[in-house]
């Protein structure tokens, strides 16, 4: 039995890596990109879409029970039986 919160922790680790690489990329773009609307707007769009995905995920997750557990052996058994 694995609690669902484990998956949330894995997701949070992924999110931290994503935020770190994003910060580096944005820094590179703003430092070395040519001064102009395309450089500015692509960065703004990237930030808005990324924040949008994260916020939507958190809003959707807030309505769900993360203390529930998942039984891997039963789930695998179901999958194998179905197939």
């Amino acid at each position: 039995m694995i609690p669902l919160s484990i998956f949330l922790i894995v997701w949070l680790v992924f999110l931290a890596v994503f935020l770190f690489i994003s910060a580096l990329s944005i820094m590179q773009m703003l430092r070395f990109g040519l001064h102009g609307p395309i450089t500015r707007w692509t960065t703004i769009i990237y930030i808005v879409v990324s924040v949008g995905i994260i916020v939507i995920s958190l809003v959707l997750l807030s309505g769900l029970d993360l203390n529930a557990t998942i039984d891997i052996t039963n789930s695998l058994g179901d999958v194998l039986l179905v197939n």
Binding site: W11, S22, S25, L34, T42, I54, I56, L61, A68, I70
Partner: protein
């Protein structure tokens, strides 16, 4: 952000004559693949909602779907941005006295090379392949005096026009830097003579 009136190592009275990047179609191919990749999970979700909606009402499945889906979309947008960054930060700037080649390699490697126009000896444009011919983009190779490696503009739009622009500007710059240009050509010819001497006489001089 890099401003065009503040180029790295700017020279007095330097004016920008052209800014070149890879053709947008080189980005489009990747975007097309990514659109398909983005459509796949959405199509799967729709398929599940029409066929087996119980999966989407189950708390466990929903948590896993949301976490997996958001990780997937975050990865896709990061990949897209990285690829755009690589495309956007690769740039060739032609001014009235030099060519700047600014190349971004990954996230941490960046190369800036510079070439004085009066050293340009030969410019070759190449349009190779169906898509390149159709959309008129290709390579521009610039051969300089005394250097074995060529300076290359990759997949730029209208390479023939670019090569003509560089040749014209090089001609003008050579007139302005006549003495330096002659020295550069002399260096090249001396180098070439030395190579010829080494290649032909060295074997005979060996005991």
């Amino acid at each position: 952000m890099m401003k065009l009136d503040n180029l790295p190592g700017a020279l007095p009275n330097e004016k920008i004559q052209g800014i070149f990047r890879r053709h947008w179609i080189t980005l489009f191919s990747l975007f097309a693949i990514l659109i398909v990749i983005i459509i796949l999970p959405i199509a799967s979700y729709l398929f599940l909602s029409f066929t087996d909606s119980s999966v989407l009402q189950n708390n466990t499945s929903l948590v896993l779907l949301i976490l997996g889906g958001s990780a997937f979309f975050l990865f896709v947008i990061l990949f897209l941005y990285q690829h755009f960054l690589d495309h956007w930060l690769d740039i060739w700037i032609v001014t009235n006295s030099r060519i700047l080649n600014i190349e971004q390699k990954g996230l941490f490697a960046r190369t800036i090379s510079e070439l004085r126009l009066y050293r340009v000896q030969d410019v070759t444009s190449e349009v190779n392949g169906f898509m390149r011919s159709l959309l008129n983009f290709g390579m521009v190779y610039i051969q300089t005096a005394g250097e074995k490696e060529r300076f290359t503009f990759e997949d730029v739009h209208n390479p023939n026009k670019v090569s003509k622009l560089i040749l014209t500007l090089a001609e003008q710059d050579r007139k302005e830097h006549l003495e330096e240009a002659i020295e550069a050509i002399d260096e090249t010819s001396l180098d070439n003579k030395q190579h010829i001497v080494d290649a032909h006489l060295a074997p005979h001089l060996e005991p």
